[in-house]
Symmetry: C2
Subunit: 204 residues, 2 copies
């Protein structure tokens, strides 16, 4: 059993920045979805060749998964808003931040977890399920926040945290569809305003 030694800086150095290439790939996946993004689209945007992509990221599916992870890092600040003191503020901020992330500059693009592969060919079923699973994780975070709120007396009486969480997730995902359909940032904020109407208690 021999040590792996310093096999870090051996051979010809990589001529591109992996993180930057991943960011570019994320953009393509975000715009075109998993199946809609061809390897040629990806390598063109990343500025690297096909073998470089496979050496650095494995294959298309692994690249997508890494792009999803990166997307999750970027969006972590959105989930962080759930930690606000009032549950109502937390939910409203979550939705607002979520919409903010879906509207880059002038173009509305929606959420990658929704745009990525809502429906697809059977070959990509695996990716589709992965996305659904990640969406479910977000819904769970919301649910846990609302369960906490319930225990703190910070929820309207007779509330069902599970149903409320699914409702919030549904709004968020619907906003993604709206964004993909061309709705403006302001439009989406107005939807949030209406959506928060279920909350009978105003906390300020």
């Amino acid at each position: 059993m021999q040590k792996p030694k310093t096999l870090t800086k051996l051979g010809r150095p990589r001529a591109f920045d992996v993180d930057e290439a991943l960011d570019r790939a994320l953009e393509v996946f975000w715009s075109n979805g998993y199946e809609g993004a061809s390897l040629s689209d990806l390598t063109d945007a990343m500025g690297i060749t096909r073998p470089s992509l496979y050496a650095a990221f494995g294959n298309k599916e692994e690249l997508f998964r890494k792009a999803l992870d990166r997307y999750g890092e970027r969006a972590s600040s959105v989930l962080a808003t759930l930690e606000m003191t009032s549950a109502r503020d937390a939910i409203e901020a979550f939705l607002t931040q979520s919409v903010g992330g879906q509207c880059d500059q002038e173009r509305s693009r929606g959420c990658l977890l929704v745009q990525g592969a809502l429906s697809c060919s059977e070959e990509s079923e695996h990716v589709r399920r992965e996305l659904a699973s990640r969406r479910r994780l977000i819904e769970q975070s919301i649910r846990q926040r609302l369960i906490r709120a319930e225990s703190e007396g910070d929820l309207p009486p007779n509330s069902n945290p599970a149903d409320l969480a699914r409702y919030i997730a549904t709004i968020s995902q619907g906003l993604s569809v709206q964004a993909a359909g061309g709705a403006s940032h302001k439009d989406l904020l107005n939807v949030i305003k209406v959506a928060m109407g279920f909350w009978p208690i105003t906390s300020h």
Copy 2:
């Protein structure tokens, strides 16, 4: 200028039912989306050969558009619910019927207008826009119903029909994403219950 005569029943008769074949195609598009449905998937499900498909329906995009039209006919009863006397009942029935159409038997599949091509390669941009356009038509129907309600005093004060309509459409589209992610019929109905909470006036 000669009459076209009776060129209806000439030549070898078609060996399949066009309507039934279109229904089968609709199923495939619904499950896999526009790009995710290959011609082989389609012809296999339709039970016809490729040239027969092209002779009867034009090409893949035209077939999809005809499937959309057929889908619209089926879903026309959903839009019809908007004509109920009370606006609140109309909206609630619309959402409930909508969910009913998205859950066939045990499998939840969402709305074709959302699943069809939320994101895609650049070649199918045309189809994507078509779907967004059809979604917008539905939202307009809702808006007009709410505008009518406003004029009838059947809306809460300070309501904004446009924002409310977009909100309803957002819920409906979010439900489609939820359905695609595996939510059950009952789950979706519970979401609707929460979603109607914005409506401060109960009409019975």
